[in-house]
Every structure is written in C-alpha cells, then in structure tokens.
C-alpha cells in the first residue's frame, strides 16, 4: 500500500520555535497522527523550509510500525490571506481559492491540482509548489481521512491522508 499525508509548512511546528504554550496544539496533534500512520520509510515531498517541518514531525514519532509499503509526506498549505491579522492581510479571493483547492485535495482530483492558478496562489501567499508531485502520487489514490481543516491564524492548513 502507498500512503500519502499532507501537512502545512507551519514553522510553529518546529522544536526551535516551541513556546511554553503551544499555539497550534490541534494542528500538531493532527500532524502527529498522520505521520505516525505513514510507517517507517517515508519520502518527503517539500521545498527546503517545508522539509525542515516534515523532518521535525518525523523525528518526534514514536512506536511506528512499517508494513513494507512506500510512504510520502507532502508539505503544502492554502492561502495566508484569510483575515486582517493574517501574514498576507485579508484578500477575499482566498476563500474561493481554498474552497476549490480543498475540494481538489479531498476528492482527490489530480488534474485540478495540476491546474491550480499559480499567479493567484502567489498573490494569496499559498504554499502550493508541491501540488504537482502530489497530483502524481494521487492518480490512483483515495482519501483516508481529513485530520485537520482550519485557519487559526489566517493561514489555511490541512492535514489529509490518502492511500492507494
């Protein structure tokens, strides 16, 4: 079985940026559940900064059992312009953009993921560079679970799992 998980590149997940009170406890818990499910041998699909988040999540796993299949941990997230307090301020286009992106991810619809508007995603500070390789992984996959879907700080995060 091939297992694929998606997590956001939220830097607050890094141990170096840990606070006394976790600002993203639900997100962290969802990420932990997803990466534990991935099994032992995990390939990371991420740009440099997202790779650090993925490596940190994998490093904190305990008691992971592998089943010999291949696993992928993909780092991406939606718009960072979903409120006036968001990193990229409020851009109303973020809501339709994220709604469409969520639909494509959950379906999953690889063709739609490959067709995401790169100019708009750039304008909305969305981290979508890995959607093309993710689409390739999802060609024969089905959704296993939605572990997280929220925008606590004006950035759209998903933690999703697929299998094929």
């Amino acid at each position: 079985m091939t297992r694929i998980a998606l997590v956001p590149g939220c830097l607050a997940l890094l141990p170096a940026y840990a606070s006394l009170l976790d600002p993203v406890p639900e997100l962290r818990a969802a990420c932990a559940t997803a990466v534990a499910w991935l099994g032992e041998d995990v390939r990371i699909v991420a740009a440099d900064q997202g790779r650090r988040v993925a490596e940190a999540l994998l490093a904190t796993r305990t008691g992971v059992a592998g089943d010999g299949g291949s696993s992928y941990l993909v780092v991406a997230n939606g718009a960072a312009t979903r409120s006036e307090r968001a990193p990229g301020y409020l851009d109303e286009r973020a809501f339709d953009f994220d709604r469409a992106l969520a639909k494509s991810l959950i379906a999953p619809d690889p063709a739609a993921l490959r067709a995401v508007d790169t100019d708009l995603s750039h304008a909305l500070w969305a981290d979508v560079a890995t959607l093309a390789p993710l689409a390739d992984l999802l060609d024969a996959a089905h959704l296993e679970s939605v572990d997280y879907d929220d925008d606590p700080y004006g950035v759209q995060y998903w933690v999703l799992r697929w299998a094929s």
Binding site: C10, L11, A12, Y17, A18, S19, L20, L21, D22, P23, V24, A80, A86, P87, Y153, G154, V155
Partner: protein, 287 residues
Amino acid sequence: MTLRLRRHTFADDQPLMMAIVNRTPDSFFDKGATWAEDAAFERVGTVVEQGAEIVDIGGIKAAPGVEIPPAEEKARVVDFVARVREAFPDVVISVDTWRAEVGDAVCRAGADVLNDAWGGADPELVDVAAAHDAAIICTHTGGVTPRTRPYRVEYDDVVRSAIEDTVAYAQRALDAGVASESIVIDPAHDFGKNTFHSLEITRRLGEMVATGWPVLVSLSNKDFVGETLDLPVGERLLGTLAATSVCALAGARIYRVHQVPETRQSVDMVWSIAGRRRPARAIRGLQ
C-alpha cells in the same frame, strides 16, 4: 545548580520570586500594613496567588529602631510561620532573621529558609540551618552590626568583598553541615553600602553568579534606587524593575520583592531574552 529549599526543589533554569511579608509595625515600604497577623496572612495568600514561590517573613525591620528582643521576635513570627505552613504546604517559607534562637524556633514551626540579612552576625545560625536541613541565605554586609546604617563605609573593591565574604559564609554553612544545594548568596544591596556600591554590585552581578552559588537579590524599592532617581519610597517601582532586569540578565536566581507580578514579568522577559525561557506563546511570523 539545582536549588533545594528544605522540602522544595527547583530546576536550575527557574527564577524564583520571594515575596516580602513583614510582621512589623514600621518597615520602610509597607509602613505596618501587614503588622496585624490577619493582614500578613492575607498578604501571603495574595502573593501565593500571584505566583510567588517563596514568602520571606520578617519580624524586625532592617533599619535602626526600638530594640526587639528574641522573645518578641519569636512572638511575631513563629506561630505565624506555623499558620502559613499549614495553610500553604507548597509555598517555601523563609524567615528574615539573624538570630539562631529565632531560626531554630521557626524551623520547628515549618520554615524552609533562614534569610540572614546580616551576614552571619550570629555564628550559630548555620548550625541551626544544618540541624533542620534548612536552606540559608548568606549575605554581605561588610561586617556591620545588625540594624545599623552604613556610615562612611568604603571598599577597595565592593564586588570582591561581597564575593569573598559570601563565599566564605557559604563555606562556613557547608562546614556546619548545610547541604550545598541549599546555600544561596546575596550581595545585600544597601546593607553596609552606599548607593555607588549598590550600583556597582548591580553592574557586576555576573561576577557573583560566576561563583556557582545561586544568587539572591533584594533590590525592591531600596534607597539606592531612590537616590539614583531622586524618588521617595512609593515611586521606585520602575527603578527597581530596571535594576531587576540587569540582575536577571546576569543570572540572579531569587528576587526578594514587594511587587510580585511586576517583577515576575520583568524577570520572565529578561530570562527569555537571555535564552533561558521560551516565549509564552509565539506565533508571529511562524504561521
């Protein structure tokens, strides 16, 4: 160094608030506000609520005044210590006394720390601390008599004097059998010192921290703050907090204070700047 205050242990990266609780009618800052036992007890409840780990109960004001014999000092503090011990089992109880006789009585009533603000004037105090496995605060006064003001005191090097005297006192405590993790040193701002001395002690506090003994600072609303800023008692909080911040950056472990929340905020902020404490909750730029 891990700190043990009798039955209470603290990690070496944890700064501690020691709240002043006066059972005196005439201390300089509160002017008798907690002279009545119930008022003092209420003050303990308040500072515990505010997060103070330690209460420092004193029955004699530091400044000169009416002589308080040991029996009167004990009448002011011993039963009160027992009452606090019973009501607040988790708080560290320190008693501000230089007398071995009083120290013995308060330890029997449940005190954890003997805060000898007068630099070992009673040589038997260390034996009392050892006998009860209590902690002791070793202060520097330049050898002055308890409850006297400094008068034309000068030092070749006040910091060297403070280090030599407090470390020697710590060694004396150690030799008497006080546990090494239960000994704290205190340069004692204003005690046997003019304002210039206290400023220099503050500026060079890192040298005291470098001895390896945990350092207590007692800065709260003192005359060196008032003289530096030309402000009366009651208007010295900001100056106190500035001095507190300098001592915190140097690594002072215990802060003897009147105002707990304000001092806690200052020390937490500096502790985080120094990289010893994580921010409470950081998300800015990390989303």
